[in-house]
C-alpha cells in the first residue's frame, strides 16, 4: 500500500498529466489509499496508471458499486488496482448522482482492462450505472426483463411471508385465494 505521502504524490502526478479537475480528492484510511476522481476522467486516470505512471498499477482486481444513500452524489464506483511488482493496492473511486449514472454514466474501461467486463455488467445490474463503450452491457444476475436496480439502498429488501405448518391452519384453504 502506498502511504499517505505516496498517495499525495500519486494524486500530484495524475493532476500533472490529466489536469487539476481529474482528481477530486484523496482519502487515506486504515492503511488503504483511495484516490477520488471525476466521473468523466475515470478511463484517462486508469490508462495513466496502467501505461504512463512511473509506478504503474497494471492489474485491475475488482470493480464495485456502492450506494451512499443519504449523501449526495449518491452512487459510487470503486476500482481496485493492484501492482504485482510492488505488491501495492490503490483504490480509484468516483462518485456520481443517480441522474448522471443513468444518462451519461461512466466511460467503460473494458478496452484497457478486459477483466472489467463482468464487473461492469454487475455494477450496471445492481446500481444502474451505465458504462458507455461497454461491448455487451446487459443485466448479469437478474432476469433480463427485471425492473429496477436491486442493490440500491432505496430498493426494498423484498421477501414474503412463508406459511409453515404452525400457521397454516390460521388461514383455512389459503390456497384458494
Amino acid at each position: 500500500m502506498p502511504d499517505a505521502t505516496g498517495l499525495e504524490l500519486i494524486a500530484q502526478r495524475v493532476r500533472e498529466s490529466l489536469g487539476d479537475e481529474a482528481v477530486v480528492g484523496t482519502q487515506y484510511y486504515r492503511e488503504q489509499a483511495t484516490l477520488q476522481v471525476a466521473p468523466g476522467s475515470v478511463r484517462d486516470v486508469l490508462t495513466h496508471f496502467r501505461d504512463t505512471d512511473p509506478e504503474p498499477y497494471e492489474r485491475l482486481m475488482s470493480v464495485h458499486g456502492c450506494d451512499y444513500l443519504p449523501e449526495e452524489p449518491r452512487l459510487g464506483v470503486h476500482y481496485e488496482l493492484l501492482s504485482t511488482d510492488r505488491c501495492e493496492r490503490l483504490r480509484v473511486k468516483t462518485r456520481l448522482t443517480v441522474e448522471q449514472a443513468e444518462t451519461e454514466g461512466l466511460p467503460s474501461i473494458v478496452e484497457i482492462y478486459p477483466g472489467a467486463e463482468f464487473h461492469e455488467r454487475e455494477v450496471f445490474d445492481f446500481f444502474g450505472v451505465v458504462f458507455s463503450g461497454h461491448p455487451d452491457l446487459r443485466r448479469i444476475a437478474m432476469p433480463e426483463d427485471y425492473v429496477g436496480h436491486p442493490q440500491r439502498r432505496d430498493f426494498p429488501m423484498g421477501g414474503e411471508e412463508v406459511l409453515f405448518t404452525f400457521n397454516e391452519h390460521e388461514l383455512p384453504r389459503w390456497y384458494d385465494k
Binding site: A141, M142, P156, V162, Y175, D176
Partner: protein, 203 residues
Amino acid sequence: MEVIRQKLGPADEFRAKQMNAQRMLRGELPDDELQQYVEERIWLTTLEKAQNWARKNALFPLGFGLACCAIEMITIIGSPRNDIARFGAEAVRASPRQADFMMLSGRVSIKMAPVIRRIYDQMLEPKWVIAMGACSSSAGMFNNYAVVAGADKFLPVDVYVPGCPPRPEALIYGINKLQAKIIENPTQGWRERYNAEGTEERA
C-alpha cells in the same frame, strides 16, 4: 407389502420341505396338502401395490444441484459413508425424462424458477419433489428480492428436508420418508390440494 425373511429351520424339517416340493412337482400331493402348499407360497396383492413397491426401491433422482446443498446431495451419492445405493436411489439421471424425483438442493432464485418448473414438467409421471434445505423449502435466511420463498410456490413439494445445509443423513431420511409416502399413497393428493386437476400427462 413387506418381504418377510424366514430362517431355514432344522435340517430334518428342511428335508421334509424338499420332499414335499418334489411330490408336488410329480403331482402326488393330495388336495388339502396342495391347498396348504399353495397358500404358503403365493402372495396376493394388487398390481398397484406391487408396482409402488418396485418404484419405491428403484428411485432415480434427477441431479439438480443449485447451491450449497448440492454438495451434500453429491455427498450422499459419492461418499462411501452415506451410500444412497442402499435405498436404491443412486442412479442419478441428467435427463428429466428418466428421473423419478427431483431433489431441489439449494436456493431457488427468480431467474431459476421458470427453468425448474420447465424441467419438472418434462419429468414423467409419477414424479416427486424433495425440497432440500431451508432455502428451497421456505427461502430460509435469504428471504429477499432475488429468492422465491419456497419452491412450493410453483411446484408441488412432497418432502421438505430442513437444515442449512441438511446433513447427508437428514437427506437420506427424507428419501426414506418419500419412499414411505410412495408405498402408502402414491397420488399424494396434491392435485386436489393445489387445485391442479388437468395436469396429468396423457399419451
